[in-house]
Symmetry: D2
Subunit: 329 residues, 4 copies
């Protein structure tokens, strides 16, 4: 029998999620939900079988709806997700899970108590390039990871409800935690807002981990360059995942310093072969939707599940506190 899914919020991501879910085998987009009748009318033709609702309550009143996808404004994520979970439905919520740790914890509690699946839309965790990067890290091919840095720059859409840390950095934080598998013991953020008072357009984050590893994020929607890139520096090799590259998104550099056997304490620069392994060419969004459905069917914890989503919010909140403290001085 088909899994009946409701998609709530028909802004940018909602319709994309609906389209990708709609083509999966044995998945039915049963409801489209948005407060705007125009939005519903606009997207109706693409999902002729779906019913329309103006509120989440209407959707949840249909007992046959098993899963709800939330692509609503960020300020509503936590409350709506909690409502969905408390109603005993599986919930996919766009990133970030919440705008505070307290809110995120309430959602995670709801998921645990309801025994349903909670998945956060940390899309990059489903990108084949990130999967390859993780494989390189975990296989030891890079040696010990020293540090990671992410560059997410663009002349992008200014947001009024999120700063660059929460809007852009949620991606990078989720990837860094995914790659390193530990939470930072020290975080620091600095930024500045130029376009809208109090909404940072550019943010720099530093994270230090208990293992001694470090990460840095350079986030900006006010930049002449368009960069979406991670660099991992390991003791044996270094690797880059460049999502703006049309081909060769992953590059592994046999670069580093070798101890000079002939001298004490001297190092020799090693600059060896460079290679770009192929990565799968499937769309991250499709893979993400498939994963959500598979976790529901198998009762499995999603890669970007409750705990994972909470960890991201925990780091974002800590970074925001550092940002606020710096601004206050």
């Amino acid at each position: 029998m088909s899994l009946r899914v409701a998609v709530v919020g028909l802004g940018y991501w909602g319709p994309n999620l609906a389209r990708n879910l709609g083509v999966l085998p044995d998945v039915e987009v049963a409801w489209l939900c948005d407060g705007s009748p125009e939005a519903l009318a606009h997207h109706a033709p693409s999902h002729p079988g779906a019913q329309h609702a103006g509120t989440l309550d209407e959707v949840l009143a249909d007992a046959s709806v098993e899963a709800v996808v939330l692509a609503t404004p960020v300020g509503t994520h936590a409350a709506l997700a909690e409502q969905v979970l408390r109603a005993g439905r599986h919930c996919f919520v766009e990133k970030p899970l919440a705008q505070s740790v307290a809110d995120a914890e309430r959602v995670v509690d709801a998921a645990r108590e309801s025994g349903t699946v909670l998945m956060v839309g940390h899309l990059l965790q489903y990108h084949p390039g990130v999967a390859k990067l993780r494989e390189l890290v975990e296989s030891g091919e890079l040696g010990d990871v020293h540090y990671i840095y992410g560059n997410r720059l663009n002349l992008g859409k200014l947001r009024a409800d999120e700063n660059a840390l929460w809007s852009l950095g949620a991606h990078d934080v989720s990837v860094v935690l995914h790659l390193l598998g530990e939470e930072p013991s020290e975080v620091s953020a600095r930024g500045a807002s130029y376009m809208r008072e109090g909404i940072e357009d550019v943010v720099f984050c530093f994270l230090r981990f208990p293992s001694g590893r470090a990460a840095h994020l350079h986030l900006s929607w006010l930049d002449p360059h368009k960069e979406r890139r991670f660099t991992v520096v390991g003791s044996k090799r270094m690797a880059t995942f460049d999502d703006m590259a049309l081909e060769q998104k992953i590059t592994v550099y046999d670069k580093g310093f070798d101890q000079d056997a002939s001298t004490y304490g001297e190092y020799i620069t090693r600059s060896g072969d460079v290679y770009s392994p192929t990565i799968g060419n499937r769309e991250p969004l499709r893979l993400e939707c498939e994963h959500f459905v598979a976790c529901i069917r198998d009762g499995a914890e999603p890669v970007s599940g409750a705990e994972s989503g909470l960890r991201v919010v925990r780091v974002l909140e800590a970074l925001q506190e550092s940002l606020d403290a710096s601004r206050a001085t």
Copy 2:
């Protein structure tokens, strides 16, 4: 009559400075000085007219020497520069001027009291690309400068006597101060050392200025990429100086956000023409040497003179304190 110059320290930069000074009109490389007889012998053929010395004292004993160029290890800069200035000679010292503000101030005092020229080898300030960037900033072509960031990355030479902040960052700090013309009111640095205990291989710096402008530096000699780049984000336009580009080192982007006249508080993304003005193709090192000689002749204050060099050390020291404080937590 020829200006008689002594070059002290025949490592990497000393011979380059000697070569560039030696071809200037009415300049004579009168002395080569190094503690190593092998180094002296190796460079002797390029300067057949120069006398050789093993110590600065010998050089200063020659009353006809008017100017001394110091390209010695960084730990000796301040003491030797003070000695040169107190001996009434003009002094060019490689960057940074000193390893502490206290030391730098002593040198600056010596320069003021002796009335001689003190110039610090902040080479980038003599780069035609930086000159063009400054022209763009000062002409208002970029509008108000919002922030600047520098990327100085490489798989480079590991140093034992300086970390990446002092070795690489001295360049970037000098350029940022040169472009903005003010000193930061808040600085923050984070970094990590992997190759040698206590010597940071990678450092991230944030500077906030009284005007509200900001700067960020990403410094590393442990990176797969080779980047030497400044990006200036202004309210009207953005510009990049990319020193790794073979051509088109300067690029100006007509990019930004414009207030939408038809709505309240909304912004429209503007992505207009891009252009790369030509810049002079003269070598920064030659220009730097010419400037030193011209300042001596005209009794002028060098662009990277005493106060300028002191300001750079002040910022580096403050960044180092932030780095140390973070490490200690």
Copy 3:
């Protein structure tokens, strides 16, 4: 009243054309036509108002159809276009118009005699980048055009019914003729086939024009690089249209040789400013469809009309003859 259009051939381009025509104001996709019932069924949902036909005859039997879009296999272009035009309907036919000059001339005759619009789908002529390139050529900004070269390389789809000259080169030939406004007086082509006997995978073409200007095309679907680029070398400036660039598709170089006033017959290399003007960001396919409809409404000759399409076939046929002659030796 709406213009009723039939789209014939539902392979790759047909559905794209139907989709773009379908959203134009006062245009109705009245018929979808394809010999394959599966293809019709697959595309039916996107055009719920369209009737279905298995043959062109059925379509033409509907007297209310005013225009027919042909996106059928290349071998059928000429015969079907002639049938459409002789039936008094306007015709858009995918490039190339025909596989021989004789066939193309029959179609052009049919268009002239029927007084209807014939337009050939030379898509690049509707690309804002080509429009900008033409503007640069015609405004004299480049000086006199010396020569143009095109690179169209890829690891692409092998074709069994066309070689790289006809499949890829039709684009480049149409652009070169569009930019220069004259037909070549000398053509030469060389190529080689590796994957399928007699079907060239790589072709090099040289064209010399009566004015002395020249053009070269490098065409290949068996190449590690992906290039889609035109370079125009003029007496004053040079320009590139790089369709693979995400931004800055057009670049103008103030480069060339200047007569040295101080010597006789010597030249000085000039390497001045480089700039990238913005170009419109509208989709060429949408612009092409709008142009077809506008020409029907205004009774105007399309930019890529009958004579233009015939000229392209004339040049392609001459190049093919050169290719065959070389192969025979």
Copy 4:
């Protein structure tokens, strides 16, 4: 005992050759020779031990001179080389060996009859990148080579004594022959001259080989781009040698078409891993000079020896004939 070498012609290449020969063990630059006393005076300080001559006769009068390096204007290569060889001395002559096959054959005859070493300065044959490319070709790693193409573009120095074919193309022809090991059975060239009557600024060459392999050269000194690149397309893999890249000069692409086992005659596009092997970082010019000296010492035939240099001239002359024939039509 030291090998005594004379360097004749102190324009651009002569001094470079002298400098590189001068530092080799047991090699002595015994004579500098140039018709211009100013040129001799200018380069004298770099070779304090060398005697000076205004003519080749003076040099050859010194019986202790064993080898002569000719870096004179291209029109003099053949006659001077013949004189050197007939005088029983080893001869290195800058490329091309001669401006006609007849002249080149006379020099080759002289070398054979004198039993001395004749080496032509086809510098690229000593480039580690070309060596790696050849290794890739010969090891079968690329499969069967289908075709090679070279791009040598620049806004370069206009020449009055050579067109772009002879000046730039001599490099590419020598590399193509070196890589393929056979001589072309069909050649074709087209070009155009804009700056000086009769001196082609841009030339396109096509070569077809008895094995069915092909090559194409795009040569121009009137171009906005700076390219120095070879691409080799093989049946299994493709490779590029890009001499403008700062790193990763060689790239191997696991790209091609594979027969689809499930269908008859269909192909599947394969786009696999990409890698850049390290290549040696020694200067080609140094390697070339070492090779000349080694061949003299070992009595070996140089890689770019008499027969090899003659083959290049044979191909260039055939290409020039094609160019002339086209121009005449």
